[in-house]
Symmetry: C3
Subunit: 137 residues, 3 copies
Amino acid sequence: MACYREEFSITTRSHDELVDVTERVRRVVERSGARDGLCSIYTPHATAAIAINENADPNVCTDVLEALRKMVPDHAGWLHDRVDDNAAAHIKATVLGPSQSVPIAGGKLMLGSWQNIFLCEFDGPRDGRRVVVSTLF
Amino acid sequence: MACYREEFSITTRSHDELVDVTERVRRVVERSGARDGLCSIYTPHATAAIAINENADPNVCTDVLEALRKMVPDHAGWLHDRVDDNAAAHIKATVLGPSQSVPIAGGKLMLGSWQNIFLCEFDGPRDGRRVVVSTLF
Amino acid sequence: MACYREEFSITTRSHDELVDVTERVRRVVERSGARDGLCSIYTPHATAAIAINENADPNVCTDVLEALRKMVPDHAGWLHDRVDDNAAAHIKATVLGPSQSVPIAGGKLMLGSWQNIFLCEFDGPRDGRRVVVSTLF
């Protein structure tokens, strides 16, 4: 098997934010030379996540963030808030998870027409949010 | 590495629905000839997801759908509803995610006795919901 | 491709619990001899899940469990409770999912400094909760 891997960094600008990284992931897949295989997108942070959904209407991102705020309210008595004051960010990151996998066919990610890949920031703004892209083929 | 991939389509019959695709995935794994590796199940849609849970009692599926409706109420002021009126479907799809991965051992999926694989429809009924099954071995 | 796989079992001690399995997964990765590839961590149970988050402050785990209890209250009229009385456990397991994937680089898991891997028990205490670790490289 070949495993080609690259990493890039994102600067986030808000406390909660979905940053579209689809094009950067696509370019890694191209450089990897993978024709058929699997692409794993991973973020090595405990208050960030990787998610896949629509960006044609960016309101979808706004709605996702608002829904997560309702599911996991800030400062709702979380114990970790006494230490770092970012418990809700950890909980949201756990629910969404740090990675996604997308098949590669004919050298392209098999994303649907309405699917984009996002780095989800839950404790920003921050420099240096890392995204690790691995292709297995 | 070998990467064997097949795709199939599902017609959904309700607005929210979990469709058991375990047998169809199993048959792809058999045809792939994989003995030991990983099976990725992916749906390229922004209002659908792939999940794994029990189907011995189909009420588990009903409960999962009801719980998601409580977590993400329909038409709760979501901005994307002004465009497509299906924001809740996008949010649920983001929370569950478009893919799952299951190990393959001795030519079989390592699903537990109570685990089945589901296409989750959140914006149906629809024709042509695609499921992409990839085996890496 | 090489696929190296090992399985281990966990005894859980509470009804809801996050058990840190990072060291056990790390040792499998070492024994696999993988230098660069992907590690899949899978649990073949319908009332358990695999998640990744912080354990430096164990309160993060307590907060995650409490947040899931609020999102999916016990005995809130779930139909499956009439059969097995553990519907909330199934729903939580569906939301978090049975697997996570982490890249391997230079023979090491690419976990961030604040990331640990957890078996999530939602219907314990139980003996013999299985965790399947596969490395593809």
